[in-house]
């Protein structure tokens, strides 16, 4: 049952990138960023209230941990542009490749205090298949 929810979460991400991309085409890239974050902020505030959660205390939290929000702006901006030029499947596929490679690099070197887990050479075969798939999407 939980597996279905996880698949649903992936489906929703594709839907989200599509919504944001179309919104960007309507009102422009920069105004869309504000609207998307505004709607998200209202939603998360509603969730916090409904779940009766406390507001966060930021005392003692290292400042770099707050940077993910800024990274998010770049991610949405870039997705919106790529959606227009590449379509959704290729945008998603390239994003997935980036995710797969980035997580391998982080795991291999144990960056950001993550546990080291060395890259398995067998995985190159998987990556070759993924590359072939993306080439297939780009060319045809």
């Amino acid at each position: 049952m939980y597996k279905l929810f996880v698949v649903l979460s992936g489906i929703l991400v594709a839907l989200m990138v599509t919504c944001n991309g179309i919104l960007s085409n309507y009102i422009g890239d920069y105004p869309a960023l504000i609207l998307i974050h505004g709607v998200g902020l209202i939603t998360i505030i509603a969730v916090l209230i409904l779940k009766k959660q406390r507001l966060p205390k930021l005392k003692g939290v290292p400042i770099y941990l707050l940077s993910a929000g800024a990274l998010g702006v770049f991610m949405i901006f870039s997705n919106n542009i790529c959606f227009t030029y590449l379509g959704i499947s290729l945008t998603v596929a390239l994003g997935l490749l980036g995710q797969a490679i980035a997580s391998c690099i982080i795991d291999h070197f144990g960056l950001f205090g993550m546990e080291i887990s060395k890259f398995q050479k067998e995985k190159i075969i998987g990556f070759i298949l993924i590359f072939a798939g993306i080439a297939c999407m780009v060319i045809y």
Partner: protein, 156 residues
């Protein structure tokens, strides 16, 4: 080509922000972390807009033309955070990654088909190849996890 590299880099940054978010969540809680992300994100978007205000030519009319569901992007983002919070710990990180990839990829191909952007056998075959590659790597990850846990048990 620029957009291909950009889409790829965005994927890398997704992982980076996942790592940062997980650390922030440990400090202040997951939902609270999400709140901070949206606040920082909104402030940052306003900054970006201020620096680029000369290029904006959005009219009020543009807003009235938009179907309502298009605004749901930000809402869906929060729903994804909620689902992931509850479901991923139950399913396990490695398996979840695979399932999320499958959902994204198949929905991506389906949407391209539905809005008639461009759908071709190339996209479907490409999607299947990517899926095969991910399944293969998942299989290796799983094998290593099992052998790791066995070696840990024998050590004890």
């Amino acid at each position: 080509m620029v957009y291909i590299i950009m889409a790829f880099l965005t994927g890398c940054i997704v992982i980076l922000s996942l790592v940062i978010n997980s650390k922030l969540a440990i400090e202040i809680g997951t939902l609270q972390g999400a709140l901070i992300n949206y606040v920082v994100g909104l402030l940052f978007s306003i900054l970006v807009l201020l620096f680029n205000y000369k290029h904006i030519d959005t009219t009020i009319k543009a807003f009235s033309d938009i179907p309502l569901w298009i605004y749901l992007g930000g809402f869906i983002g929060v729903m994804v955070i909620l689902i992931n919070n509850n479901a991923i710990p139950k399913v396990g990180a490695v398996y979840s990654t695979l399932l999320i990839f499958m959902g994204q990829l198949s929905m991506g191909v389906a949407i391209d088909f539905l809005i008639g952007n461009s759908i071709s056998t190339g996209k479907i075959v490409g999607g299947l190849l990517i899926l095969a590659g991910m399944l293969y790597n998942f299989h290796i990850d799983k094998k290593n996890l099992i052998s790791l846990s066995i070696s840990q048990q024998t050590n004890q």
